[in-house]
Amino acid sequence: MNSAIRAERLVKRYKNQVALQDVNLDVPMGRIVGLIGPNGAGKTTLIKSILGLTDVEGDLAVLGRAPRRDRTALMHEVSYIADVAVLPRWLRAGEAAAFMAGVHPRFSMERFRALLERTSVRESMRVRELSKGMAAQLHLALAMAVDARLLVLDEPTLGLDILYRKAFYEALLNDYATPDRTILLATHQVEEVENLLSDLVFIKSGKVILSSSMDEVAERYHEVLVGPGQRDAARSLGPLRERSVFGKSVFLFDGVPSSELASLGEVRRPGVADLFVALMGDAA
């Protein structure tokens, strides 16, 4: 099994809406995948189905297992972080770790303590005594102390100030991201993580608009900064999007080789946020 997550034709219907429509995904092991989409796009539903918490039609294999049916067995190898609000407020850091050590065969108490040491959180503290940032540190320490093969993060840095966010991703890269682990990161804060990602999935209204590695994205999508004289030439090549910046025009192209575009102006990589907006329409 070399796919961490393989989804084919996933569909999830609720009473009055369709949360996922024909979603296809293939995430190889060792990747850091960004799941990007607006609120209500289906990110959480997709994550829930990956974690076996919701029924879904279609084929879904996570680490080679059917998540709904083998949820308990699957969760031995999966770590999950949602935003910090889910940590029970009465729970002490040490109790949380003891519990996980008791139920998670792959949780290591030494690793947890080593990770916690670097924070200002002490084992005797209860979650309600912690600031948001400290709670996030605790949550991350708990998740990273599990030798999981898949880490699912659902907006983990929501509401955290920049120092904590920076430290969060640094800790993730330093201590956790290895070639035999896969990380799925659902987030709004695209600019912050775009260099961390190896793969990109754009989702909107339950549909996957883009699912591709960052390398493929770099080969496929180009932005060109064009002066007024070249605008018409640029338009004739069929850009995805045109916007103006300080009197110049920026065109985004899909599938037009950069050699062809070089004559029009300065060619560059589009930022993930710009690509997102171009592919999704204005609802970002």
């Binding site: 974690l51 918490l53 919701t54 308990t72 999966v78 999950y80 949602a82 889910v86 003891a98 008791g102």
Partner: protein, 300 residues
């Protein structure tokens, strides 16, 4: 198996107040009252008062050298204490079970617990075990400890008045049997408690809001409907009584209500209502597991 132990420990961590502190504090307060009553009676003479009455009467009889009658009075006092702890247990369990599968959905901590390799079945089972076994065991232990304290207090008081305590102690036959009864009849208690535990956990898992109203009103209205159907020839009023009785008693009941004259164990076990209720309770638990699974499906 170790997962279940950790789940039970987790329940204890979260509900230390209800599961441990409240029974202990109650016992402590009662112990203080008993001691003060006895001391007061010794100094100022006995007074007519509800709780202390049989204890004081017992002590007076003992001091007047009637150990057998004294023992009987003391036994009454011991028995009356059981009610207090049973009421405490019922209140704690009612609110505990009602919130067990509801509170963590409301504050979203259910997402944290769901990310553990623990099945929904194990989760519901752990909370049911608290209601069926753990809390009752705590209550039994605290009750027995308090009763032992009362016995010791009585013996000491008697001795302090210059009378030998041994006749009184000798007349208190059945203390051992009394304690043993608690353990032996525990399984029956579990059967009796199943309907209430199953119902409350089902409501806790299923209700989107106001679980308290659902838990209380639905059985009441059901009973009312049954009573209204009285004329149709069904033993409706009996059923209504049975329904409410089993739901209500489940939380109160403890092993000492069996075989002390209120109900005999044999009678209890052969009542079909017991088994129907127990099955219904199990069905309620199954429903709770199902509802729990579904609630995570749709909520955020």
């Amino acid at each position: 198996m170790s997962t279940m132990i950790w789940l039970l420990r987790r329940e204890y961590w979260e509900h230390r107040v209800g599961l441990r502190n409240i029974p202990l504090i109650t016992a402590g307060v009662l112990a203080a009252i008993a001691t003060l009553t006895v001391i007061g009676a010794s100094i100022w003479g006995p007074r007519a008062g509800a709780q202390g009455a049989s204890l004081q009467a017992a002590l007076r009889l003992a001091i007047e050298h009637s150990p057998v009658q004294a023992a009987r009075q003391l036994a009454e006092a011991l028995q009356s204490v059981v009610v207090v702890f049973a009421v405490i247990q019922a209140l704690v369990l009612f609110f505990y079970l009602l919130g067990a599968l509801y509170d963590d959905r409301r504050d979203r901590s259910a997402w944290f617990w769901s990310s553990m390799p623990v099945s929904h079945t194990e989760t519901v089972a752990s909370k049911a075990l608290i209601g069926l076994l753990v809390m009752p065991l705590v209550t039994i232990a605290v009750t027995l400890a308090f009763q032992a304290f009362l016995v010791v207090l009585s013996l000491v008081t008697v001795a302090v008045h210059g009378v030998s305590p041994w006749p009184l102690l000798g007349a208190l036959t059945g203390l051992g049997a009394h304690a043993l009864k608690a353990v032996v009849f525990l399984p029956i208690h579990v059967l009796l408690a199943l309907p209430a535990v199953g119902w409350l956990l089902l409501v806790s898992a299923w209700a989107r809001r106001r679980p308290f109203l659902w838990a209380v009103l639905v059985p009441l209205i059901a009973a009312l409907c049954l009573v209204v159907l009285e004329g149709s020839g069904l033993p409706a009023a009996d059923l209504a009584g049975e329904l409410l009785g089993r739901l209500g008693m489940g939380l109160f009941s403890n092993p000492w209500y069996l075989g002390t004259g209120a109900l005999a164990a044999h009678e209890v076990l052969t009542a079909p209502g017991l088994w129907v209720g127990a099955l219904a309770g199990v069905a309620g638990l199954a429903g709770a597991i199902n509802a729990r699974t579904r609630s995570l499906d749709t909520s955020d």
